[in-house]
């Protein structure tokens, strides 16, 4: 269990894979491989809810990466502190325990890492979510920049190098 954990959220479909692909690119990057052993891990997380709380438990810093649609230009990456994400009006249910509801529950239980940072990659409003749809060009183009930002975040948080 590493003190820094990077978790890719999403599904195997189209631009919703953005968080997963970002994690895969991170794992393959030289910068990530050069980090001291035992400092950081990165994985694709089983969908949110208690699985996400499990995956973050015990870490000092959790970095979550997910796709988002907010109307911004596709490919825009936003960095949010989890404290900034209010529990939206999304109704939660046995299946759909959304990201903000999960963070809200974690906060209520005092069960979140000291720092939780969420990176949201804007995907096009007309994004397709078919099994055969790859990332759209603006989303694919944002991945390498995001990976570099995440690496900086990890390094800064623990004062390595």
């Amino acid at each position: 269990m590493t003190p820094v954990r990077v978790l890719g959220l999403g599904s195997p479909f189209g631009d919703d894979r953005a968080g997963w692909i970002a994690v895969e690119s991170l794992l393959q990057s030289d910068g990530f491989r050069a980090l001291p052993d035992g400092l950081a891990s990165a994985e694709i997380c089983d969908p949110i809810g208690s699985n996400l709380l499990d995956a973050m438990r015990g870490a000092d810093l959790a970095i979550l990466i997910d796709a988002a649609q907010s109307g911004a230009a596709p490919g825009t990456v936003r960095r949010l502190d989890a404290q900034q994400i209010e529990d939206g009006s999304e109704p939660y249910s046995s299946h759909g325990f959304g990201l903000s509801a999960t963070l809200d529950l974690g906060r209520a239980l005092n069960d979140l890492p000291r720092d939780v940072i969420v990176f949201l990659i804007e995907i096009p409003a007309a994004a397709k979510f078919g099994a055969a749809d790859g990332l759209s060009a603006p989303v694919a183009g944002a991945i390498s920049g995001l990976v570099a930002t995440v690496l900086t975040e990890i390094v800064d948080s623990h004062g390595v190098f």
Partner: protein, 431 residues
């Protein structure tokens, strides 16, 4: 109360249930004039997707019907296809299926009790809100859910839409060291489960005695989960391939899910129906714990569903320990020839009876599929319960009280609306 008022309550989107459900209530002159429990989720047409697919694809396809009970869909499907093909699974395969299924019960039930139903009985509008005052209880719920997910992952590689199940058994046998680690966690969770039974029994639920028919599987010597005969408390006792002789589905205009009736009457499936019909099949320690609560089973109070779920978590943990205690990996599947014909399968999903029927061609392709999920079976019962329960609660209550009570009644059934709306007959009239 002589005051007569006309009240219209509309709850457009029900929170803490799965999928798009809604409730309309129209009271006139102190009587319920109209009450409708709507299921408005778009139909999902899963049975049509299955037509023309190879039989071996079925377990992975039907797992996608539900994110919370994929194992149930897989188990009813493999049972139906294996019985048609005449493949006899080994005691090891049967035991491991039951163990994996226990994981789904633990996960689904603990989620429902702690995060969806409990806030109703403690007067909170959401689980995070309740968690601020009852952190230990909510943490227990998350611990148990996580344990159930891990048990599913042991056999299926992931807890949502697991991929380890195939017709004939499993793609792989879990390694012994992982099973041993999980066994430790299961043993350590027993006190949580026992406390949960006592806690749910102590919750102040409405005293609401209703007349309803319970339907569930029954097995000669174990609490029903993976297999059994279909029985009711009105004397029904049939093999699963006779389901269609007694249960009929029909469509109603206000719902995209089919209604199912047992000999023309609504009926209950799920934890309470199962426990009502099978409390004598509980292992000794689980039955003792239930008896200690003083709540007598069978019960006519549907609000004891939360207790029934807790008892089934205790049962599932106890069973999983028994099934995995002397675990050794074995050949994880059997195989054989395909055969044309019709196969039937039925297992107990967390929410109740899940019945499948497949017609298969000579080259092993699905010609026709029929899937009857628990929520569509409970739909008529929920509507009937709402009617009586709201009347018993008192129509002179405030709109907010009536709305909350209606939601409470519905949530108590833990309906999975996405599962239920997989089929719709479309009739187009053009003039």
């Amino acid at each position: 109360m002589n005051e007569r008022r006309e009240i219209k309550i509309n709850v457009p989107v029900l929170a803490r249930v799965e999928g798009e459900g809604a409730l309309d209530l129209h009271i006139r002159d102190g009587r319920i004039e109209n009450l409708k429990f709507h299921i408005g989720e778009p139909p999902r047409l899963f049975e049509k997707f299955l037509e023309g697919r190879e039989a071996f694809e079925v377990p992975d396809m039907v797992a996608r019907i539900c994110g919370i009970c994929p194992v149930a869909y897989q188990m009813s499907a493999v049972q139906a296809l294996e019985s048609l093909f005449g493949w006899r699974s080994t005691p090891w395969i049967e035991a491991m299926r039951r163990a994996m299924y226990c994981g789904e019960w633990i996960s689904s039930h603990s989620l429902h009790i702690h995060l969806l139903a409990a806030p109703d009985f403690f007067g909170y509008s959401s689980a995070p809100e309740m968690a601020r005052d009852y952190p230990d209880e909510v943490r227990r719920g998350l611990r148990l859910q996580s344990l159930g997910n891990e048990l599913i992952r042991l056999f299926g590689a992931r807890s949502v839409h697991p991929v380890g199940v195939r017709i004939g058994g499993f793609y792989a046998a879990p390694p012994k060291d992982r099973v041993e680690k999980l066994l430790e966690r299961l043993r350590a969770a027993l006190p949580d489960a026992e406390n949960l039974v006592a806690w749910t029994a102590s919750v102040d639920v409405p005293q609401d005695k209703l007349d309803f028919i319970s339907v569930a599987l029954r097995h000669p010597n174990e609490y029903p989960l993976y297999s059994g005969r279909i029985v009711s408390d009105t004397g029904l006792d049939i093999p699963v391939d006779r389901f269609e002789d007694h249960f009929r589905e029909h469509q109603e205009a206000h719902s995209t899910a089919l209604y199912s009736l047992f000999e023309g009457r609504p009926y209950l499936v799920g934890p309470l129906a199962r426990l009502n019909l099978n409390w004598d099949r509980l292992p000794e320690p689980v039955r003792r714990k239930l008896e200690k609560t003083g709540v007598p089973f069978p019960t006519r109070n549907v609000f004891h569903s939360m207790l029934a779920r807790a008892v089934e978590i205790h049962l599932a943990i106890t069973e999983a320990i028994r099934l995995l205690e002397k675990y050794e990996p074995e050949v994880p599947f059997v195989a054989g020839e395909h055969r044309a014909g019709t196969g039937f399968g039925c297992s107990e999903a967390p929410r109740g009876l899940l019945w499948h029927r497949y017609d298969v061609s000579e080259d092993g392709k699905i010609l026709k599929a029929r899937i009857v999920p628990p929520t569509s079976q409970n739909q008529a019962r929920i509507a009937e319960d709402l009617h009586r329960s709201i009347e018993a609660f008192g129509l002179d209550r405030s709109d907010d009280e009536l709305r909350l009570h209606g939601e409470k009644v519905i949530r108590n059934y833990d309906p999975c609306i996405s599962c239920a709306t997989h089929f719709l007959k479309l009739k187009v009239i053009r003039e």
